[in-house]
Amino acid sequence: MDSSNYWYGHAHALSRYCGLDEPPPIRGIVQHGWTFVHGYGAAHKPPLGLTRFAWSDVCRRRGQIIGWRDYEPIGAPFLYLMATEEEEPQGREGTIWYPFHGTPDFESVAGDHQGLIDEILATETGPVTMCLYFIEYENPEIRRLYEEAGFRVITHGQRGAKWQGTDADFMRRQLRELRRHERVASNRLSTAMFYGIQAGCEAAIYGDPMELVDMKDGFDGEQLFRAWYPFMFDAQVDDKLGRELAAQELGVAHMLPPEELALTLGWTNG
């Protein structure tokens, strides 16, 4: 199975939804994060002959126009996780803030973290949980900046690579955190924003989007997002518009019942 299917616990979330303890190999490549291009990363070209399990239909269409085929939208694994993890009754408080992150493969983020902290402090009225991607979390200088600002600093875990180091509870931990917070915020439109909105948070996108160093050509969609979804770039995103967009991009309409999902992923004969 393609190692990216395991990232963030995606395969585990899907298998649990299907009533399986451990995920069998998936007959295809599951989209592992929200993108605006074709559903996969810059260097991730799913091999021909394997189904591209995209989250949403709009993602399938984006692939179609560049000549890619063999998409089957199934909805984001996060949706399946939400369907299996009941929300515990608890009060929501404060903001969980996701500064945009680099990846272990190529890109890194460069920018003024202190400037961002100042803007967050000027905007947020409640307590702030700063959730760093593990790359930035493991950088003591960056982590200290946010800790010294008085934020609670966390990470959801390791993504892993090549079947090593994946934290299968990454996304589960993320869902629990999101359900504890009233707001989700970031300086770029990203996967975490859509997850947060879907998990019931109010949304905000503001602050210096920072620079992505060594970003592959065509994979920096910041300008495009502001043209496509200008309503998302606000310290208080319109709730209805935000939810509609999250539902579209996470593929809520494409979620499958367990039996169909198992069949689609190649876990049952048929």
Partner: protein, 482 residues
């Protein structure tokens, strides 16, 4: 397949919701830029991807021009071509400008809605476009016919094909799309409607659906057979005409609201539209008649038709194209009548031109004909020349007159005639190989049968032998027992 690259654009391009990465649409209006430009006045909105000539013409004629495309590469191209213009890229409903004096929708609504937008109906997209026009604005809208000839004679079924260019959010299942002339008129009350031929993008003719069916067929057939590549929709034109449904099968319709009047028949010539006469009713085009006689291998009738055609055009002053001459039988003789005046200085030259085009088309389209595959176009042309009383011309001159297959660089090395002969030869070789293979199979089968036959013979012999041995043994036993 598209390579993912950073998309750049000039400063006059504004991205709005729906701006679609990497997508390119066909360029419209190449052949009729001048005609469309004539309709322009004041602030003008151009919707869809225009051909460069059209875009430049509009920009020169308009007080200000705004262009809306859905693909970012298209927007960047237009923005660069027209630096003074305002280019919007994305969903028409998100364009932040209105009150236009002229709106030219050069692409069908299906090419206006971007994939990034939620799917809307054809009607909704058209209404979004119209909402940007002033109440008294000139509006030209182009409506592709889902049942048009180009669809029926195309290589691919657009409902199911899976080409890169086939993504379309408001394709054939959209119930609001007009599919007949009456439905187009209902969709645009008070508008002048013209049928568009022979293709929605490669426009060669605008013809009113209200002219006589024969006249419409004549012109539709003329322009449908002119592009000497791709499918040959000639028989479909004829079939639709005889069914009384030709105007409803036009590849597209042009709708004009409050614009300058377009004549009943206008033919694209270069970048201009030429007003054409409407021929008399009750006759067919000589081109259609020739095609039928040709595929029926009716050389005697072809001889009569060509002779009549030559006689009718011999006095000059007419366009001698077979598609622009009427023909009907009077008793056993053909009566051919040219009806499009033309400033002709040498009627023989004009007739050779028309004959060469006829022969070229016949060869390139590989019509069935009375001539064998070994007959070159040159020979056929001279044969028709003799029928016409024009006698013959040199091969060099024939080659200058005969049209070559357009846009096929790979075929440039050989003449169409040589290629046709090559294809025929190869077809013969394939047949020969198939026969050889079949023969070999038969031989193999026979060889397989041989051992079986031998085995049976041996078995019989053995049985016979055994039987005789048993008989001998029995005889011996019986004799010993006494």
């Amino acid at each position: 397949m598209v390579e993912i690259t950073a998309l750049t654009r000039p400063d006059n391009v504004t991205l709005v919701a729906g701006a679609t990465q990497y997508w390119r649409d066909p360029q419209h209006g190449q052949g009729w830029a001048e005609a469309l430009t004539r309709q322009v006045q004041g602030r003008t909105l151009l919707v869809g991807m225009p051909a460069p000539a059209l875009a430049k013409g509009i920009a020169e004629a308009a007080a200000a021009v705004h262009v809306v495309t859905r693909g970012i590469p298209d927007a960047a191209e237009i923005g660069t071509l027209l630096p003074e213009s305002t280019v919007w890229c994305g969903d028409i409903s998100d364009v932040r400008a209105d009150g236009f004096d002229t709106v030219l929708m050069v692409a069908d609504a299906a090419e206006v809605l971007p994939l990034e937008s939620a799917t809307r109906t054809w009607r909704a997209v058209v209404d979004d476009v119209l909402s940007l026009a002033k109440d008294d604005a000139t509006v030209l809208a182009f409506v592709e016919n889902d049942l048009g000839l180009h669809r029926l004679s195309g290589r691919f079924n657009p409902r199911s094909s899976d080409l890169d260019s086939d993504w379309d959010p408001t394709r054939t299942w959209d119930a609001t799309r007009p599919r007949t002339v009456d439905q187009v008129r209902a969709a645009f009350p008070g508008a002048q409607v013209h049928t568009v031929w022979p293709h929605p993008v490669e426009v060669g003719l605008l013809a009113s659906p209200d002219i006589s069916p024969e006249a419409l067929e004549l012109y539709a057939e003329h322009v449908s057979l002119l592009p000497l590549q791709g499918a040959d929709p000639g028989w479909l034109v004829d079939a639709f005409a005889r069914a009384g449904r030709l105007a409803d099968s036009a590849p597209a319709w042009l709708v004009t609201l409050r614009g300058r009047t377009i004549a009943d028949v206008e033919l694209v010539h270069g970048d201009a539209l030429i007003t054409m006469p409407v021929p008399e009713t009750g006759t067919r085009s000589a081109l259609g008649v020739f095609a039928e006689l040709c595929t029926a291998s009716d050389l005697p009738q072809i001889r009569r038709l060509v002779a009549a055609w030559s006689a009718s055009t011999a006095d000059g002053g007419w366009d001698a194209s077979f598609g622009l001459c009427q023909a009907h039988l009077a008793g056993e003789e053909w009566v051919v009548t040219p009806f499009v005046p033309k400033d002709v200085t040498d009627s023989a030259e004009e007739r050779w031109r028309a004959l060469a085009h006829l022969v070229g088309g016949m060869h390139i389209r590989a019509w069935r004909s009375p001539w064998s595959s070994t007959a070159s176009a040159y020979r056929i042309l001279n044969h028709l020349g003799l029928m016409s009383g024009l006698h013959t011309l040199s091969e060099a001159k024939a080659n200058r007159l005969l049209p070559s297959l357009p846009d096929e660089e790979s075929l440039a090395a050989g003449t169409p005639q040589e290629l046709a002969a090559l294809v025929t030869k190869q077809a013969h070789e394939v047949h020969a190989l198939r026969s050889k293979l079949r023969w070999t199979e038969l031989m193999l089968d026979q060889e397989r049968l041989k051992p079986a036959t031998a085995t049976v013979a041996l078995a019989r012999a053995a049985k016979k032998s055994a039987s005789s041995k048993v008989t001998k043994a029995l005889r011996m036993v019986r004799s010993r027992l006494g």
